[in-house]
Symmetry: C2
Subunit: 147 residues, 2 copies
């Protein structure tokens, strides 16, 4: 969970290629580990560890351990929307950044290039290099402002 978000994602197109990368690195691939990775490929959208554990009938702590292992290998990353638990996804396939409405829970995904003007203002103001791929921008969506 405290994994650096800057681990470089290896190239992999599908489950077999991801498994091959882990094997090349000498990692043991248990059935549950393979199932967790497969669940991320099938989901196609960020998912919670709880969701994966429930779907697969696996122990939550073991799903977290597997996800953390994949993160250390750069295969998986997670994003936080406000107070919520991390949502996990495959790295490299999706480097989008997020906006989260803390009133209704709406999520908006944006390409990193779209957020460059925002980053530039933050840079000018503070020198910080901001990223919203790991921790979303939190605020209120247009609908909640109108309501």
């Amino acid at each position: 969970m405290t994994q650096s978000p800057d681990v470089k994602a290896p190239d992999f197109a599908d489950l077999d290629e991801a498994v091959a990368i882990l094997r090349e690195r000498g990692m043991r691939l248990s059935t549950s580990r393979r199932l967790v990775l497969d669940a991320l490929f099938r989901a196609g959208t960020p998912v919670t560890a709880e969701g994966v554990a429930t779907e697969l009938g696996l122990d939550l702590a073991s799903v977290y351990r597997n996800l953390e292992t994949f993160e250390r290998q750069g295969l998986v990353r997670h994003v936080h929307f406000g107070h919520g638990p991390g949502l996990y996804m495959l790295s490299g396939h999706d480097d989008r950044e997020y906006l989260f409405c803390e009133q209704c829970g709406a999520v908006r995904a944006l390409e990193p290039a779209q957020l460059e003007p925002v980053r530039e203002q933050i840079r000018k103001l503070s020198g910080y290099e901001a990223r919203f791929a790991h921790f979303a921008i939190v605020g209120r969506c247009p609908d909640c402002q109108r309501a």
Copy 2:
């Protein structure tokens, strides 16, 4: 913890005025509740519930309950820096927003007006009205970028 950040902060200058507000609202003010509020006045800087509990020798769960009660009354608010636990402070006395370095943990506090150009870019891009008082902007500080 899931308290809306938009509860209006009442006016209070010191512990006695804060206590008076709670009493006017018919709230019981136990010794531990008063101690927790006093700790926030003495701290002068955002503090974790764990820090308050350790300092006062109180049960962590009860400190959290007290902090949440104060938040519902608009006396207290909290901010999250990345994965870390919430940091609590008195409302109204400090409406600053935050930048957090996820590499070294550095924190930079800014006045809301200073962040207006950032908010404006986010508004133009997405229509979202962003706030960084409850969830800090996360990125890398200038020192960590140079290192």
